[in-house]
Symmetry: C2
Subunit: 191 residues, 2 copies
């Protein structure tokens, strides 16, 4: 929590890198383009992060931390866990709204084989945070047996991530919405 003044060089690098990684993945995260985006030279990136792997780990870490905060805010705002659950897909929809971008962790899950260990860890943390949040709200809403809450939470996470992936592959947000409707009709998501 020290030295995170808004707009610091490191901050702006992480923000720009996040946007880039959500569109092009870890492999497509280009240090030269990133530097240009931030307004410095490629070599200068390495003053802030020891390597591309370190930068990506920082990006993925802040990504799940921010997501956790958004989900907490959503739960507080909704009060009713059932309403929170209904609104869960919104978080994934927002990425698509932002230039057809996708969840950083989904993209990087695909890139699993090429991910440095430190990045893998943070990518999985994102899934963990989402599943834990879903599980908690499923329990509170008493939609499924308490013992099956975690299983169902995983299923919802995987299905929503898959829907985002399919919608991105067609650059079609309406498809994402249709898929959420189908999940509700089928009984996977609460109606």
């Amino acid at each position: 929590m020290k030295n995170q003044a808004a707009g610091s060089s490191s901050d702006r690098i992480v923000v720009a890198a996040t946007r880039m990684a959500q569109a092009h993945g870890y492999g497509g995260l280009n240090i030269r383009d990133l530097a240009q985006d931030v307004g410095i030279k490629a070599a200068s990136i390495y003053h802030h992060f020891a390597s591309k792997a370190d930068l990506a780990a920082a990006v993925a870490k802040r990504y799940w931390e921010d997501s956790a905060a958004v989900l907490e805010a959503l739960a507080t705002e909704s009060a009713d866990p059932l309403v929170s659950l209904r609104r869960y897909p919104e978080t994934f929809r927002k990425s698509l709204e932002s230039d057809n971008r996708m969840c950083l962790s989904s993209f990087m899950a695909a890139e699993y084989d090429d991910l440095p260990e430190g990045v893998k860890k943070e990518v999985q943390a994102f899934a963990d945070v989402n599943v834990a949040w879903l599980e908690k709200n499923l329990r509170e809403a008493k939609i499924v047996d308490a013992q099956r809450a975690r299983q169902r939470a995983c299923a919802i996470y995987a299905a929503v991530a898959g829907a985002q992936l399919m919608a991105r592959g067609r650059a079609d947000i309406a498809l994402f919405d249709t898929l959420m409707d189908s999940y509700r009709q089928a009984g996977l998501l609460p109606g």
Copy 2:
């Protein structure tokens, strides 16, 4: 259908490239490594395919053609559409069994922004083939209203693809199986 003698150079390039792309995506498809894998030099690849884009398009095309054949065989083998539907996830499970690889089209859907137009087309064809097969079997099995068969087909495809992605992100096939169980329990997949 002419000149496709098994084991021809072009064939072996496509096969090797497919395996590579299922693990590393379009961006991670490396011409030099691919050439070495096939036993020729990088420059020689360009004798068979005009560009990486052309190669990837051929790869993606053969990928959905092969998938279509596998699905047709599955339907013929099962006879009962309900059984076919139950076995649908097997096709995605097989990729995970093969060194935690994933569906080429899912990986490339993530890489949407960086995909040449000719590749995008073939990637979408894969989804189309899968959705059409699911829709047909859903109709025949009379599991959902005929008018909602297509919608449900999309939902199943997206959910299974998402499950594969999540399982790959943890290199955990058992998770894929658990997710399929959850989908069945929730009512998305036929029990």
